[in-house]
C-alpha cells in the first residue's frame, strides 16, 4: 500500500539506481564499471520487491547479479582487462554530446509514447490477485502461468539455453594450432 514510507523508499532506490547506472557508464576501469552495475541491479531488486514481485527480485539477485555479472568479471579477469584505460570514450567530446542528444531524443519519444493511452488490461492472469498470491505463495503465483499458459515458451527457452551452452563452449574453445 503506497504510503509515505513506501514512497520515500521507492524514490530512494530509484535515485540510487540512476546514480549507480551513471557511475557505471562513466567508469574508466571495466571492473569498477561491473561492480557499479551490480549495485544498480541490487537497487532494481529492491524495487521489484516493493512492486510485489518478490520472486523476480530474488532471482534478479541470484541470476543476474550473482551469475551473469560474475561471468562478466570472470572474462575480464581472464583477459586481463582490468586496468583502467585513459581513453575511455570514443570520438571525444563531440561524440559524447551527440550520444547525449540522441539519448535525450530517445527518452523524450519513449515518454511521449508511454504517456499516451495504455492498452486495455488483458485477461490471462487478470490483475494482481492478492488471494492467489496468498494461496500459492510468491513462487507459485509465477510458476502457475509459467507452466500452464506459457509452457511452450518455457520449453523453447530451455532449448535456447542448451544451444547457448554448446555454442559458448565451441566458440570459446582454444584451438590447437598444428605446427607440423
Amino acid at each position: 500500500m503506497p504510503n509515505f514510507f513506501y514512497e520515500v523508499h521507492f524514490y530512494l532506490f530509484g535515485l540510487l539506481a540512476i546514480a549507480s547506472s551513471i557511475a557505471f557508464v562513466t567508469r574508466k576501469s571495466p571492473v569498477a564499471a561491473a561492480l557499479w552495475l551490480v549495485n544498480t541491479m541490487f537497487c532494481l531488486a529492491a524495487l521489484y520487491a516493493m512492486l510485489e514481485a518478490h520472486f523476480i527480485g530474488v532471482i534478479q539477485v541470484l541470476v543476474y547479479a550473482g551469475a551473469i555479472m560474475v561471468v562478466f568479471l570472470f572474462v575480464v579477469m581472464l583477459l586481463n582487462l582490468g586496468q583502467p584505460s585513459d581513453l575511455v570514450d570514443i570520438r571525444g567530446k563531440w561524440g559524447r554530446l551527440a550520444a547525449g542528444l540522441l539519448g535525450l531524443a530517445l527518452l523524450a519519444q519513449v515518454i511521449v509514447l508511454a504517456g499516451r493511452k495504455l492498452p486495455e488490461p488483458f485477461t490471462p492472469g487478470g490483475g494482481y490477485d492478492p488471494i492467489a498470491v496468498r494461496d500459492l505463495g510468491a513462487v507459485g503465483s509465477v510458476a502457475q502461468p509459467l507452466f500452464n499458459e506459457y509452457l511452450l515458451a518455457f520449453e523453447l527457452t530451455s532449448i535456447l539455453l542448451l544451444v547457448a551452452i554448446v555454442g559458448a563452449v565451441v566458440i570459446g574453445r582454444r584451438r590447437r594450432v598444428d605446427a607440423r
Binding site: L102, A105, Q109
Partner: protein, 730 residues
Amino acid sequence: MLLQEATTGAHALSGSIAEWVWLIPVLPFLGFLINGWLSMSSAAHVGPKDPSAAGHGHDAHGGAEGHSDHGGAHGDDHHPVVRHKYAGIVSVIGPAVLLLSFGLTVAIFMAMLGVDREAPFVRTLFSWIPAGDLHIDAALQVDPLSMVMTLVVTGVGTLIHLFSVGYMQDDPGYPRYFAYLNLFVSFMLVLVLGASYPVLFVGWEGVGLCSYLLIGFWFSDKANADAGKKAFVVNRIGDFGFLIAMFMMFANLGALDFVGVAAAAPGMGFNSVLATTICLFLFLGCAGKSAQIPLYIWLPDAMAGPTPVSALIHAATMVTAGVYLIARSAFLFSLAPAAQLTVAFVGALTALFAATIGLKQWDIKRVLAYSTVSQLGYMFVGVGVGAYAAGVFHLVTHAFFKALLFLGSGSVIFAMHRAYHATHNHDDAQDMRNMGGLRRYMPITFVLMWIATLAIAGIPFFAGFFSKDEILGAVFARAHESTLAQVTLLGIPGSTLLYVIYAMGLAAALLTAIYMTRMMLYTFHGPNRSGEKEQSHLAEAPWIMTGPLVILGVLSLFGGWLNLPDLIPFGPVGLLEHWLEPVVGAATAVVTGPAEAHSVITEVYLIGAAVLIAILGIVIAVVRLKPTRLVPKAQAPDEHGFERVLREKYYVDELYDRVIVRPTVWISRNVLSTGVDQGIIDKLLVTWVGAGIPRLFGWFGSRLQSGQVGTYAWVLLIGVIAVLGAFTLR
C-alpha cells in the same frame, strides 16, 4: 456593321477557277525547289577557285556606305567570268512559274468580276492546328483586297524576274538567286492570300527569311552578311509585336481567322484599351516589316543586295506587307482611333524624317531606299486615318514607280559597272558623283526614270499624283470631322494632330520632289564625271532589262486611272475604291461618319496645294542644285555641319548601337555567357550537382560500410529514433 460574313456552303466562286487559288503560291515554290536543286547539285563540285565560293570580297567596292551591289555580278579580274552551267534552264523556270501564277491570278480576277463579292471566298486546304479551342486551318482567302495584292506581287514580280535574267546573267550564284527569289514570291503570296493571321504570319516570317537570304546574297563580303542579319533581327522585333497581338486576339476574341475576328471585334467596344493595345502591337509588327520609325534602320543597309531584290522586296512587295496588314485589320483599327492616330503620326513623321535624309545621300540606291521609307510613311498615314482604299492605292502606284526607279537605277549601275570593268576602274559605280550626263548614253532609261520621278513627285496625271492626293485629302477631311478628330492622343486633340499630319505630308511631298529631281539631275543631266575612257563603254542595257522598264513606265503613267477622284469629269471614277468596298468599306465608314463629300472648292484647293508643292520642289532643285558643281566621288570634299548630319542619317544607327546593341552584347557576354552559362550551369549544376551528387552518394555509401561495429550501433539507434519519431509525430 464591320462584319464580313463568309457564307457556308455555296459561295458564288465555289467550283470555279478560284478553287485553284492554292496554285498561286505553290507554283513559285516549285520554282524554288527546282532552282534550288540545280544550284545545290552544281555547287557540289565547287572547288576552292570557283568564284561562287570565293565570292567578291576582293575589291574595295565597299565605300563609305558599305554596299556591294556589283551591278550584275562579275568575277574579278583574276577569275574569268563564266556563265553558270544551268543558267539557261533557270532563266526559263524562274520567270515562267511566276508568269503562270500571274496568269492564274488574272483568270481568278476575271471570274470575280462577274459575281457578288460581298463575302470572301475561303479555300480551306487542310486543318493545320487543331488544338482544343484553337483551330487554325491552312486556308486561302479570295477577296478584292487579296486579289489586288496578288496582282501586284505576281505582275511586278514577273517583270522583275525578267529584269534579273539580264542583270544577274554573269553571277556564279545564278540558280541560287532565282531559287531565293521564287521562294520569296511564294511566301509573299501566302502572306497576301492567307485567310487567318497565323497563315499570314507564316508568309510574314518567310519573306523575312528570304529578305535575309537575298540581302546577304553575296555573303562572302561581310558587310553584306551583316546587312542581311540586321534586316532579320530588326524584323524580328516587329514580329514579336505581331505575335503578342495575335495572342491577345485569341485570348479575348477567341478567333484568329479574318472572318471570325471581324465578327467578334465589335465586342471589344469602341476606343477600348484592349482594341488600342492589339492595334498598337500589330503596328509594331508593321513598323518592323515596313521600315517605319523606329525600326526602319535595316532598309537602307538592305541596298547591299542585288538591285532587282531591292526593287522587288524593298519597294514593291515585302515592305508593303505592313500596309496590307493594317488594311486587312481595318475592322480592328477603326475601333481604336487612338491607335489610328498613332499610326498616322508615326507614318507622317517617318515620311518627313526619311525625306530629309534622302536630300543628302550620294549613293543612288540609298536615295531610293530613303524614298521608299518615306513613301511607306505616306501609306501608313493613309491607312492610319482610316482611308484604307487610299493607302492601298498608293501602295499599288508606288509599286509601279518605285520598281521602275530601282530597276532603272539597276540599268544605270549595270552600265557603270560594264564601263568600269572594261577600263579596270575600281571607283564606286553607285555614287552619283561619278555619274552625270547619262541621258546621252541611256536615253530610254532616262525617259522612263523621269516618268517615275514625276510620278513620285506628284505631278498631275502621273500615277503618284492621284494616290498621294487621295491620302492628303483624306487626312484633311478627317481633320474636319471624323471619329479621329474627336478623340485625343496624349492630350492633343485629334483634329489638331491631323492638321499637323497634313502639314507634315505636304512638307514631305516638297522634299520628295526636291531629292528626286536632285537624283535625276546628278545622274542624267550635266557633264559626265565617269571619266573619258569609261564614256565609250556606257550604253543602254539589253532589252531583257529595258523591256520590263517600259512596261512599268506605262503603268506609272496611267496607273493613276485606277482610282480617279470625283472631280475629274471623265474616265472611270474611284475604281479601286469600289473594288475594295466589300472589304474595307464598312471600316472606312466608321471613321468618317455619315458620308459627306468635300465642297468642290476645298477639293480644288487641296489639289492645287499639292500640285504647287510638287512643282515648287522641282523648281527649287533645278535652280539650286547645279550638277556642274559636282566632282567625282574620289575628289569630293567632306560635308560639314547639318549636311553631315543628314548624310550620316542623323547618326541613328550609331545611337542604336551605343544604347541598345552594345549593352545587349555586353550583357550577353559577361552576364549570360560567363555568369549564367559557365558559372551557374556549368559550374554549379553540372560539376557540383550533376557530377557531385553521385560522387557524394558514392562516398557516403563507402563510408557507411566501415566494418566498425560501433558505427553500426550508432546507425541502429538513429534508425530506432526515426521509427519512434514517426510514431510520436503521427
